[in-house]
Amino acid sequence: MDDNRQPAGVWLHAVTRDAGPCELDGVAGIGGRAVRTVHAGGLVAVVSSVDLAQFGEEPLRRNLEDLDWLETVARAHHSVVETVGRSRPVVPARLTTVYRDDAGLRAMLEQRRGDFDAVLDRVSGRTEWGVKTYAVPTSERLSGTPPAETARPGTAYLQRRRAQLSAEDQRWQLAVAGAEEVHAALTGCAAAARRHPPQDRRLSGRTEPMLLNGAYLVERRDADRFGAAVTAQAARHPGLHLELTGPWPPYSFVTNEFVTAEEEPPR
């Protein structure tokens, strides 16, 4: 770039197939600068040029502690991945995949071409949907069996309390089992499924616990059918609250082929 006094790095957003011109004109990447493409091995990498004074290993570690910074970068990255994925199969890169230069990125694309091809085949024509499931709050008590005739007030209280606790316990077990059923049913409507760890209550913004944080890879043409399946599951499980998000780029379904890359010792 023209004004770089600092060394420039290459932030990888996503990889797709090299198939005609990309519709990426004017798409803003990290820092609001237009993204560009790097071609190699029949693949196209969509990248942002970044300043290594901000995105090098040490500064990045610091910046990731800053939630505003993290959010800005995450949303910029997501926006690029989504734009690419709108018109072609896309393999999103994890946040903070930074190369020193285009040559390093090109070498990686050529070296891992087979892996990228396999993942691109798998996600082609598909998008990801998220379904989160919560137990509904316990404000409504189960209409359990009322305690037997009140011999003494104290005994009646204990009986009532015991019945209440056992009802709550039962309710909880039903909710947990229900969430498993929801996941199994939705997995049946998807090409692939994966569970993320349930979100911390402080992050989900809800008071009741999350029982399922599922991701489902679904054919684009089956999106309505999947939505209907979610609605059906919600109706089937009145003790659960279901939340649908998406469509997402296939973030949760691109890792397997790259596991060996993680395990490889550095150089």
Binding site: G9, L12, F55, G56, E57, R61, L64, E65, D66, L67, E71, A74, R75, H78, V91, A93, R94, L95, T96, T97, V98, Y99, R100, M108, E128, G130, V136, P137, H196, D200, R202, L203, S204, G205, R206, N213, A215, A223, D224, G227, V230, T231, A234, A235, P238, G239, L240, H241, L242, E243, L244, T245, W248, Y251, F253, V254, T255, F258, A261, E262
Partner: protein, 71 residues
């Protein structure tokens, strides 16, 4: 697509940061870059969640979209 009714919430206009980070931090292609990849794994998830939880007061204070209980 049509927002499902009955106990589910329609897709919000803007994705929740926590849902986005679920996907961006724990998944996505991991390839060896030359600069920062030493933190692209577990450490990163840890760091980010710590940042998130530190600001949880703010996050939770925003009224969640479509906060309605199932029937």
């Amino acid at each position: 697509m049509t927002p499902p009714a009955n106990g589910t919430v329609a897709t919000p206009e803007r994705v929740a940061l926590v849902d986005l980070l679920d996907r961006l931090l724990s998944t996505g292609v991991v390839v060896t870059g030359e600069v920062t990849l030493s933190i692209a794994d577990v450490d990163l998830v840890y760091i980010s969640l710590r940042a998130l939880i530190a600001s949880a007061g703010t996050v939770a204070a925003d009224p969640p979209v479509g906060r309605d209980w199932a029937p």
